[in-house]
Every structure is written in structure tokens, then in C-alpha cells.
Symmetry: C2
Subunit: 427 residues, 2 copies
């Protein structure tokens, strides 16, 4: 079957998956977890093969680190599955119930989105994680991993597939695409694939977003800011800037730009520069900044840079108003923080900055589903539709309206024979 | 300014609109309503000009009916604005509040989406309606109407624009595009326009959906079904089928296909055919149907037809299972009804049909924001992301996460110095 045919048949079968019980889906998750532990040696062996090939192909160390699937990564996915099992069933929640009229009741009920396409680069743990999220949420999924991890992925997928069939879920709820050209085929399945989740480098995500009509959940850039206001507590500010920049530089929620209010620049900036340089961070700034601290000079049009490295742009701004307009212009609407003890200034910043996360006196690195207490993370979205910011299981859900009538027709309401009374009832 | 420049500057200005108070936005709505009444003669004069031009250009009667803006249409939009004013402010609602740790509080707060592009064919009332919805929800909007209503739209837009400026809202929150080529320019503004709402024919909406990377709220097709189960009450069934087909044939929620369970076909179908023919409906069906009633013969592959007219496809199906698979295959995931007295069969149908609305014993014509009690309707969506089915004001909203800290950094939580305690608090 081509991917197009697979997607069509999966779409038509998806209501069966949606109709499975939460217990069945949890049982499948438990079976996957058990089977992963039982077959770990086989998985590690497959992974060793991928690592060997990577060595032959001179693949970069960063990629090798991601494609390695060891005891630590296994424990991570096992813990993730255990978390998922403990989360309440997201399917079939009654979100609204309203009597429109006597004997005419409307319910809004949560249900799975349907068919999710997942495309990821070299990260075998992502295959397990995303499959588990789709199973928990009653969705079907077409998975496409990178060729660097083909052996690990094949081993993992077989274990997952056997476990779900054993647990009684529809066997066609998960499909692993094998060929690289299948990515482009998948991107064209906008009639049957309801949502795409790409996991990988920015360039990769950008490619997906630019080449499909299917809605994409994710984000390409993460240009996050920390603005230090004139009413900032310097100690908090420095601790937060260093954390936001250095705690994990490769993350999308790492800060890339430091904005400092001009009133405190001469006092604060040299202190911040020392702390950042001590943490190994190289600073860059425009001509303004050079008059306060020694940094590598940069142009005013470079403030949209995402370094994902121990490098940070610095800019002096007049006040919170200029900070806001700089962030809205150069940022990526991801997560931005203000450091200030002034409540009103903070509220102004948090209302006016057009980002998924707006923080007062906290590190941008908190932008994460687990740190928000969601229990599971589907990803982080910089889209404003459907789901924004860190996305939990609810990002994989939609809803339908169920209307229970007793023979009602619209004409009676149009000609005045009947009237709606709209009475919300208990869910 | 080009549309691209307008969109960019509107995007950057949109947080100002988002920060206006609900009272200010309601005052603007009241001012618009008052000004429309005060200036109605001027509006009607402009509309007469458009109607004159339509007559000269031999424009179809269906379009003329839509472009006419008379006392009745005016009353409709005035009533719509009054409804909107009475709805609670959708901006700034705290949807979730959670203490992540001592002194670290996360809030999910509703906010406007930002910049909405609205493109509509010949319906001046849509201009007022959509502008009002955008104002109520704190969004900015770029409006593009059809050339057939240029005079009416210009008169209406001037009144709206003057009213919002008078009421103190940002003057650049609304912009009316004038040139036809600006539609294609607008479709390319995916960096700055957050959402497109097209209003018009299916072909028009389809064109928009196929030619932009901006998310589109709406639907192209409305192929709705009524399935009459073997456990149906015939009287209810016939009343509902006639209403669903004939109450307003041009609507997307009008039924196009009648499915009948084979066990009752010989008994029920002739009765239904009489009632439908009495209501002026021409029936079409495949060879199976011909053995029960006289209908125009059609092929099995034509069951995806949306007639929007007094024509209905008929098909005999084995049972509810075949009804479900027919609907999922040929339908448009809009609204589908089952007529049955059997609760279990109804639940099966409502769970398995993959549509925004699934009804038991009620007409598909109920699929409408006002009939659902939303007070205002943005449109009907057949997308599964963001908003599905009839969409009220909430379809124009997104949310942001506000995190209030007191100096917290992620490293403390990563190295075990600090622990999250995740405690939901009152909103």
C-alpha cells in the first residue's frame, strides 16, 4: 500500500480506535512498557548497529547523542508511559451540556483528532513517546523516523505493535513508514491526516511547515528574551539570565537575547556580563552596548538570531514599552520574561508581549509541559490556533457535538411554534 | 501601504487592541449600532447604487438577494450587535491557575488571536457582523468584500471606523482592502495574519483554503446525512427528513443524502418518497433504490454530491454499521443524524460517525451557533483543530500562559534542590 492508501484506510478505521475504552488503551500502554523491558537487549543490539553505521558515515556527535538508545533513555520512556497510564482518560469527557428545549439536549464531548502523522529525525525515544501519546488519546498514527535509526526504530515498533494487538486495540492504529520519499507523500495526505507533529531541527520543522496543507503542531524558532527592567532585583535577574541562557542551550526555550533598561545599564550590565562570561557565554551587541561592556559588535537587524549555543545578544532599550515592541518584532512568540519588582510594569509586559509564555521573575526554561504539571508533553506550539505553548494530551483531542432530540425540526423554531430555552445542565 | 505592510503594522499594533477593556469594546459596538441606525438612509442609497450596477451587469438573482441591504438586514445586524454587547467579555478569562511551587504561579489566560483576515463575497451584512465579532473579541481585522457591494461596504465601513475611533479604540484595528488583487496578497501574509475567515460559495472557500498557509476557519462542503434506522419512529423520521432537506436548501447543514436500513426500506421508503415529493424534492438513487421507489437513477460514486437545492440522494444500507461507513467515506464531517428509538444504536452511530455534529432524532439544520445557544456565530468549522462545528466567540480567542515567579530558575529543579508541588488554585 502507498502512504496515501494507508492514510485513507487508517482514516476510515480511526473511529474504531476512538471507540476503544480507556482501560484497553492503558492495558496496551502497560504491555508496551513490559515488552520494552523484556526485550531491551534486542533493542540495544539494534541500536548498536545504528551507532556502528553512524560511525562509518561520520555522523556528527550531536546526532549520535540523540540516536543513542541506552538504559537511561529506556528508563525515561518507561517513566513517561507510567505517567501516561496515571493520567485520566482524555476521551469522552463531557465539556458542556445544555438543554436547548424540552427533550433536546446538546453535549460537547471530547474525542481523538483521528490520524496523526509524526515525522522525527534521529531520536528513537521519540517514537515510543509519540506512539504512547497517540494510544492514550485514542488516535491513529503514521510514524516516520530518520534513516540513521532504522534498526532501533524497527525493533521498537515491532514491540509496540505486538503489544497493542495483544491488548486488543485495532492493529491498524499504528503504521511505520519506511522509505524517505514517503515523507513527501505523507505531506500530501491533507484529506486523511488531521495533524502533523514534526520532531527535529528547526530547518526540518520549517521544511514540514512550508510543504504541507495539513495543520502542523510545533514551532520552528525559539527566540526567547529576558528583559531586565529598571525596577529589577539584580540578584534574581542575574540568576535567571544565566539559567535561561545556559541551563540547556539547545532547547527552544533557552533565552537568546538580553534586553536591559537604559536607566540601569551602566550599573547592571557590567555585573551581568561578568556572570555570563563566567558561565562561558559570549556576548554580542550593537554599538549602544559597546559603551557599557565589551562585546562582539553586531548589527541592529541581527536580533532575530537563535544561537542554541553559549552566545547571547544584548540590547539596551529605553523602557518596558521599547522592550515589548522589540520582542514582538524580533521574537518568535515563544516565551519571554521580565525581571521587575513592579507589579504594574510586569502586567503591562505580560499583556502586551504577544507570546505563548510571558513570565515575571522566572527563567524562560520553565516553558515545558512537565514543568507546567501536564504529566505528558506533546510538544510546544507557537501557533495561536488549537494549542499554544507547552501542549499536554489535550492537544491531541478535538470534540464533537452530540444532539439528542425527540423529533425536533428547525422549522418549528423558525416559524415561532417552538422556542429555545437554553438551560445549562450538569455534565 | 500594501496589504503586506498593513498586515505587518496591524500585527505589531494588535496587542494594543487586545489590551482595551471590555467596556471600551462594548461602547464601540453601541456606537456602531447607533450610527448605523442614524445613517441608514445613506447606507440604503449606497446599496441602491450597487443594486443598479448589478442590474446593468445582469448579476444572478441569488447574488442580488444577498447583496441587498434593506431594513430587514439592518435590523438583523442591529440585533446581532445587541446580542454581542450582552455576552461576557471573552478576553482575560483565567482558564487555569496552578501553583507550581511556593511563589511560582502559572495562569492560562484567554486573549485575542491577533489579526484576522476576513474575505467575503456579496454580503454587506457580513461586513458588519464580522467587524463586530472582531471588536468584541479584541482582534484586529483586515476586511475584503466583493466588488458587487463596493458602495454599500464603503458606506458601512466608514460608519464603523468613525464609531470605533470615537469610542477610543485604536484606529488601526480595522482595515478595508479595496482592490481585488489584494486577496491574493492577503493570502500570502502568513507571518502576520493569524486566521482567515472566508464567507461565500463553496468554490470561493475552497480557493482560499487551497491557496494560503494561513489557518482557515470554515468549511467548503456540507454533505449531511439522515440515516433512518430499523428502530425509527416513522413520523419523526419523515418530519425530520423534510425539514433537514427543505427548510433552507442553500445552507451547509441541509441534508443531501437519505440512508435507509434495508429491513424497513419497502415499508418506509415509499412513505418518505411521497412526503419529499410533496415538499417539491426530486429524489435520486442507485439501482437498489429503484426497486422500492421511482427515482432518477444515479451512480454509486455520486453520493458525495452537495445539491444545495430541492434534490436528495437516497441509498439503502444494511444497517447502522454500513450507514456509518458510508457517511465517513462520502460525507464532509459536518453534521449527520440517525433516526432511531434504540439508545444503543444511536450511541454507536454518534460515537462512530466522524463529524462535528452527530444527532439522534433531530434535524441537521440545528447545526448553528445561535441554535446551540452561543449568542453569536463566527461560522461553522469542519476542521478538527482549534474549533469544530458551530463556532461562537471563543473561536476568535487563544490563550497565553502567564508565569509569576520570585526568582526561580530551572537548574534548581533539575538538580533536585527544589521540587514542584503542582497545586491547582482558584481562578
Amino acid at each position: 500500500m502507498t502512504i496515501k492508501e494507508t492514510a485513507r484506510s487508517m482514516k476510515l478505521a480511526s473511529p474504531k480506535m476512538a471507540a476503544t475504552s480507556g482501560d484497553d488503551r492503558n492495558r496496551a500502554l502497560k504491555a508496551i512498557s513490559d515488552a520494552l523491558i523484556k526485550n531491551k537487549d534486542e533493542i540495544f543490539k539494534a541500536n548498536a548497529l545504528d551507532l556502528e553505521n553512524a560511525a562509518k558515515d561520520n555522523i556528527s556527535q550531536a546526532v549520535v547523542k540523540r540516536l543513542k538508545f541506552d538504559e537511561g533513555k529506556l528508563n525515561g520512556v518507561i517513566e513517561g508511559i507510567a505517567n501516561l497510564i496515571n493520567l485520566p482518560d482524555p476521551v469522552g469527557k463531557i465539556m458542556m451540556a445544555r438543554e436547548l428545549d424540552e427533550g433536546l439536549t446538546l453535549k460537547r464531548v471530547s474525542c481523538p483528532i483521528g490520524v496523526i502523522g509524526v515525522i522525527f529525525e534521529a531520536r528513537p525515544d521519540a517514537l515510543v513517546q509519540i506512539s504512547s501519546l497517540c494510544i492514550k488519546s485514542g488516535n491513529c498514527a503514521i510514524l516516520k523516523g530518520g534513516k540513521e535509526t532504522v534498526n532501533t526504530n524497527t525493533a521498537l515498533f515491532e514491540i509496540i505493535k505486538n503489544s497493542i494487538v495483544e491488548a486488543g486495540l485495532p492493529s491498524d492504529c499504528l503504521f511505520k513508514a519506511e522509505q524517505h520519499n514517503e515523507i513527501d507523500e505523507l505531506l500530501k495526505c491533507d484529506k486523511d491526516v488531521d495533524l502533523l507533529i514534526p520532531r527535529g531541527s528547526n530547518a526540518f520543522v520549517q521544511y514540514i511547515m512550508n510543504n504541507t496543507k495539513i495543520p502542523v503542531m510545533g514551532h520552528a524558532d525559539g527566540v526567547c528574551h529576558v528583559y531586565v527592567d529598571k525596577a529589577a532585583d539584580y540578584d534574581k535577574a542575574i540568576k535567571i539570565i544565566v539559567d535561561a541562557k545556559t541551563q540547556y542551550t539547545a532547547a527552544c526555550n533557552a533565552a537568546e537575547t538580553l534586553l536591559v533598561a537604559k536607566d540601569i545599564a551602566s550599573d547592571f550590565l557590567p555585573k551581568a556580563a561578568v556572570a555570563l562570561k563566567d558561565a562561558g557565554v559570549a556576548l554580542r551587541g550593537n554599538a549602544d552596548v559597546l559603551s557599557f561592556v565589551e562585546v562582539e559588535e553586531m548589527g541592529d537587524d541581527e536580533y532575530n538570531k537563535e544561537y542554541l549555543d553559549l552566545i547571547m545578544s544584548v540590547k539596551i532599550v529605553d523602557d518596558v514599552t521599547e522592550a515589548v515592541s522589540h520582542i514582538n518584532r524580533f521574537g518568535s512568540h515563544h516565551t519571554d520574561a521580565i525581571i521587575t519588582e513592579d507589579r504594574d510594569t510586569a502586567e503591562y509586559f505580560m499583556n502586551m508581549v504577544d507570546s505563548a509564555g510571558v513570565y515575571q521573575n522566572a527563567s524562560t526554561r520553565f516553558a515545558d509541559g512537565f514543568r507546567y504539571g501536564f504529566g505528558a508533553e506533546v510538544g510546544i506550539s507557537t501557533s495561536k490556533l488549537h494549542a499554544r505553548g507547552p501542549v499536554g494530551l489535550e492537544g491531541l483531542m478535538t470534540y464533537k457535538y452530540k444532539l439528542y432530540g425527540t423529533g425536533q425540526i428547525v422549522d418549528d423554531y423558525a416559524n415561532g411554534t417552538a422556542q429555545f430555552h437554553f438551560r445549562d445542565i450538569d455534565c
